[in-house]
Symmetry: C2
Subunit: 327 residues, 2 copies
């Protein structure tokens, strides 16, 4: 059994707990929290909730620690810190800061003889893998990534900061015509506006000016100004009834040419359609936790990404079994 | 530079030659043939065509040998034989015989201190990888593979063996309604007939009985009897004009559930749309040849499959570069 710990019990931490239940060779050893452990109730019977202050006591009782903090401020500190004590996996997703995060985690993990995997999930994660494979197969080609339809947490937060907004949710929607042009091998150069639209569902505060709110959202720099944005005003009840989920997904497409004179065209497409973004991310993480436990048992140390892990390490099946049934 | 040799100069061998041209860190060292080398003309200037009888002379001049023989009779003999002299890659695609082929190649490669990669391409190959990743991420789920629209060489050959048929080509076509049911998460149980249709373009011999030919094709066991098959009679000119290509492709889909009670559904889909089946297969093979050359330089030996190769090994870029640009 692979003994897994969870640090941080939000949507992602709960998703990891669910994924552990689905994988017969993994077990949840403990959940660590910054809150008062008494106030945190986990779903798995008999699993202790422990203050993160006591995490060092679990050094020899956990094979892989999954760190479910946020990328903005938590993970840059947490992952290098906990890599001194545990094999760790995180889902660090600030693309621009990955090289720096990798270097910090690598130094800590190597010094401690631990293995760390950063930026695990679907983007970064499975989407990155598909970009890499497709680039290696079709060196003469062009990459496209589309996201959605799905909830963007950052954009939903931005809506909720607009004066007069009581609550809100934002969906990122890929533009079907752009997707079709890419799939048809037209190699389009797409602007931000041409790739995605943004759809907002907003609950107004009592007496708020709907037109002013809509204008404030649509012209917000970085978040909405560069997109065609639709704003729907709905009631708190409608928001709760129709928009409680956290769906997401997207498309990674590479088109490219082969042949002596580039005469043949090819399209490689990978897509995800997810009812629950955090649960899918967690499911990827737990599969990789298995790989990290194995690498550690082989004496490997240092920081890894999904690029560095041979696919067979993710599977509970033997090499013979995967060759016989999946090749 | 990675020095690559090609054994067998048919569609696949020519595709490998084209792929080598697209990859700046690879070069074609020589092409080996069972034919009279004088009769074989390759596209790359200055590359020798050598009798396969003299292949041992090239032992120290080739980093990876790509064996472009057929799976039925060539590869089961060739790959273990050449793995005694070279690091090798093949595209062995007889799924049922992979375990036996793996064992034979593994023994030969280990004894010689060489690395071999078998069953490389897209199915087996990229489709297998996607089945593995998706199975590891969604343990509670269901797999679907659809092929096409594309030319099946085996079925085209079967048509051409029917009395009265001068020439012919067969396309395997996935049933759109079945694909949609799978994507919609309906978990359908699909019969052979419900997954694919078969479309045949047939040139009759002078005076042949079209109705008898159509009947013979549609009722042919294994090849056509279990499918809804359409037969179109066309002229030799139309066949040459409209059906000269070797397109193919397909879809690997896994649907699955997550959540404490399986309450959330997910769809992972990988698809290929290929103008040239052999050139795409060759492009996958050359990316993996790079990986095999690297593994060999690290002292690895034995037989591998795509499951055993960490994705980063396929890329000409450094770890820093792929983390910065593709993660």
């Amino acid at each position: 059994m692979i003994r897994i710990g969870i640090i941080g019990y939000g949507n992602l931490g709960r998703g990891v707990e669910c994924a552990i239940k689905q994988n017969a060779d993994t077990e949840l050893a403990a959940v660590f929290t910054r809150r008062d452990p008494q106030t945190v109730k986990v779903m798995t019977p008999g699993v202790p909730v422990v203050s993160v202050a006591d995490v060092a006591d679990w050094k020899d009782k956990i094979d892989v620690m999954i760190i479910c903090g946020g990328s903005a401020t938590d993970l840059p500190k947490q992952t290098p810190e906990y890599a001194k004590l545990f094999n760790v996996v995180d889902s660090f997703d600030t693309h621009a800061r990955i090289p720096e995060h990798f270097a910090n985690v690598d130094a800590a993990a190597k010094a401690a003889g631990k293995v760390a995997l950063i930026s695990c999930g679907w983007d970064p994660g499975m989407f990155s893998l598909n970009r890499l494979y497709a680039n290696c197969i079709l060196p003469d080609g062009k990459d496209y990534t589309f996201w959605g339809k799905g909830v963007s947490q950052g954009h939903s937060d931005a809506i909720r900061r607009v004066p007069g907004v009581k609550n809100g949710k934002q969906y990122t929607v890929p533009v079907e015509a752009a997707l079709e042009a890419v799939r048809a091998g037209k190699d389009p150069e797409l602007t931000t506006r041409e790739k995605h639209t943004r759809e907002c569902f907003v609950v107004l505060e009592e007496g708020a000016d709907a037109a002013a709110v809509e204008q404030a959202i649509k012209t917000m720099p970085n978040y909405f100004a560069d997109y065609d944005t639709t704003v729907h005003f709905i009631s708190e009840e409608e928001l709760a009834r129709d928009h409680a989920g956290i769906p997401h997904g997207g498309f990674v497409i590479r088109t490219g040419k082969t042949g002596w004179n580039g005469e043949n065209r090819h399209v490689i497409e990978y897509s995800l359609k997810l009812d629950s973004n955090p649960e899918f991310t967690s499911s990827v993480i737990v599969a990789y936790a298995r790989a990290i436990a194995r690498l550690s048992s082989e004496g490997v140390s240092g920081c890894k990404t999904v690029f560095d892990i041979a696919p067979a390490y993710l599977s509970p099946l033997s090499g013979d079994e995967i060759r016989a049934h999946l090749l």
